[in-house]
């Protein structure tokens, strides 16, 4: 089992003919991902590696039964691509695009509300369900099917963590990079909730970063709603705190956002906090062993 991306997922890639879009689509097909269509405005009617390319996302939905979209379009066109996927009835939107203005993301969040569509990203490495498929950048060789759910705000650091697990023979149910932007489609809490419900996920790795309050909010959620073990690392502990402009940031965040604050909040919530990121895999290994011995 897995979350969000499974054997029923039929993917349309928006921006399939671009250099990143085509490279990562090919990589995803190599691991068995069902990419059923592509969309590039102006290139409708063509093909890429036998994958039909359409002018509109609705064509990909109607003609190929696409239900998941991967977006690789440049930042200036990405909000439009998201709105188009939403309007076409796509149920999972995964947006890798970096550099979407915050003002546009506020509109996107508004459009997502009540739509029944989930979005991962933007500015994220995407989602992978080992053995089934992926949308985004996660390197194929790092992935291995299994029972650990991974959720992270980072990109490459996520691959690192998955690679560590795989190196120890520990597979993943699903791995998700939620993205590093101030406003993202799905946060830690949304993903943690899905892992908690997923019967195949036995433990969760959560990788955070300094800044914002997403980890503090997640800690509160874990304390009250997550029964599965969570191992967590926060990047940026040694980033020297420094200047800031204006007072508004301090006022609105109420002094949260440092790595120490986040580690503390997570510890209080019963999360297995690990300050050496090279030890995350080992901590999960211990956790799974203890769980197996206990049951």
């Amino acid at each position: 089992m897995s979350i969000l991306l499974d054997r029923e997922s039929r993917i349309v890639v928006q921006g399939i003919t671009g250099s990143e879009g085509s490279f990562h689509t090919r990589e995803s097909v190599k691991m068995g991902t069902k990419v059923v269509a592509g969309v590039t405005p102006g290139k409708g009617g063509t093909q890429m590696d036998g994958i039909p390319v359409y002018e509109r996302v609705s064509d990909a939905v109607n003609l190929q039964g696409a239900n998941v979209s991967g977006i690789y379009t440049p930042a200036a066109f990405a909000p439009d691509a998201i709105f188009e996927a939403l309007e076409a009835g796509i149920k999972l939107i995964v947006c890798m695009t970096e550099g979407i203005p915050v003002a546009e993301m506020i509109k996107v969040k508004q459009a997502l509300k009540g739509s029944g569509t989930r979005m991962i990203g933007p500015n994220c490495p995407g989602i992978a369900t080992p053995g089934v498929g992926k949308v985004g950048f996660m390197p194929n060789f790092t992935l291995r099917p299994g029972n650990v759910g991974v959720v992270s705000r980072s990109g490459t650091l996520t691959y690192e963590m998955i690679w560590q697990l795989t190196g120890l023979g520990i597979g993943q149910s699903t791995a998700i990079g939620i993205g590093g932007d101030p406003i993202v489609g799905s946060g830690f809490i949304d993903v943690l909730e899905l892992y908690e419900q997923d019967p195949e996920t036995e433990a969760i790795v959560m990788i955070g970063e300094i800044g914002g309050t997403a980890e503090e909010e997640a800690a509160e959620f874990i304390r009250s709603r997550v029964t599965k073990p969570v191992v967590s690392f926060i990047a940026g502990r040694t980033a020297p705190p420094g200047r800031r402009m204006g007072h508004a940031g301090a006022i609105i965040s109420g002094g949260k956002g440092t790595a120490e604050e986040k580690f503390k909040a997570l510890e209080r919530a019963g999360v297995l906090v690990e300050k050496n990121p090279a030890e995350i895999g080992r901590r999960i290994q211990e956790t799974l062993k203890a769980k197996a011995a206990g049951s």
């Binding site: 915050v102 969040k109 490495p125 790092t142 990109g155 809490i189 200047r243 940031g249 090279a278």
Partner: protein, 408 residues
Amino acid sequence: MGFWHFRGLRGKEARKSWRYGMKIHEYQAKELLRSCGIPVPRGKVASTPEEARAIADELKRPSVVKAQIHAGGRGKGGGIKLAASSDEAAAAARAILGMQLVTHQTGPEGRKVRKVLVEEATAIGKELYLSLVVDRSRGRECAVFMASEAGGMDIEQVAATNPEKIVRCAVHPAVGFSPFQARKLAVALGLDAQQRKTFAEIVRNLYRLFLDKDCSLVEINPLAITGEGQLLALDTKINFDDDGLYRHPEIRDMRDPDEEEPLEVIAKNASVNYIKLDGNVGCMVNGAGLAMTTMDLIKMAGGEPANFLDVGGGASPEQIEKAFRILTSDPNVKCILVNIFGGILRCDRVSAGLIQAAAKIDMKLPMVVRLQGTNVEEGRRMLQESGLRFTVADGLYEAAQKAVALLG
């Protein structure tokens, strides 16, 4: 919105989630406020004492001369002076221009002052606080006004000890600004009927400015009530979302490279995300999270990182080479740690960049290279065959330990 920054960080910052984006000077921010009808003191910017004198002459009033640097706390550091006459304004400008202004936000080295704002001095009755930022909390993503009767320099203290003195008002993204919001804030600020009218206009225009220019922060502190009972924006800070700059060339042109670390300007032009730090282990990493983690590990291994450097996603060999040059031009760097986990960025591209750079730069520094990810075999093969001298590392912590060991 996060507020943790790396020291010395100016302009584009390492991670959007904990940065405010591009900064501008007070005089530029006031011009923006003026252009959208928000009352600011009369005044102009000067680069010489003579210009300052001319402006003060024109004002025909006592003036205040304010150092223009991208940092707060200027008054305490001697960067703000009152002048009763144009002679005094010229003298004040002479004292401030060229000084190395040290405030709690500049670091001990201070910042060189190149411009002063000369504006009419105002008798202040009361100092209010008004700002607009994005609240990114889950489920509440929207712009939010914050206002307080207790404006001025101690506003953060107020937020910590008397949070009830700060009133918030969120702007629904689909609805936009609605006049009741201004009323709600105005009553909380204790404004009289006449002031409320002006205030409503200020709030409306501030929201429009925020949206129109992709601001990440607009702060008026203090929003003064003058001796005559008028509202006036006495000091203001405006920051912009870097990702919105592509559609505001006029804002991008306000960038002041003098306010930025020279190496960081070079890095920005090469689209490399670089922040200079105080240590001696230079690191080149892909991805902000992994770059921060690499710094954490260097420190854990007993070393000090010399920088934060994220070469980004689709970096070309040319970009890798530029990143490498930036890294090695910091004289404090005694060894280099390259830590690349290829996802978007392919390892063969990194190797090509390293080889290209090493061929052009006379590399004497010891180097640890750790490559993992997409096209890693090809990347490693290229390095092996290049004859480049380096220490190979496999593990994450191992790489940091080997780099620190190279320091001797």
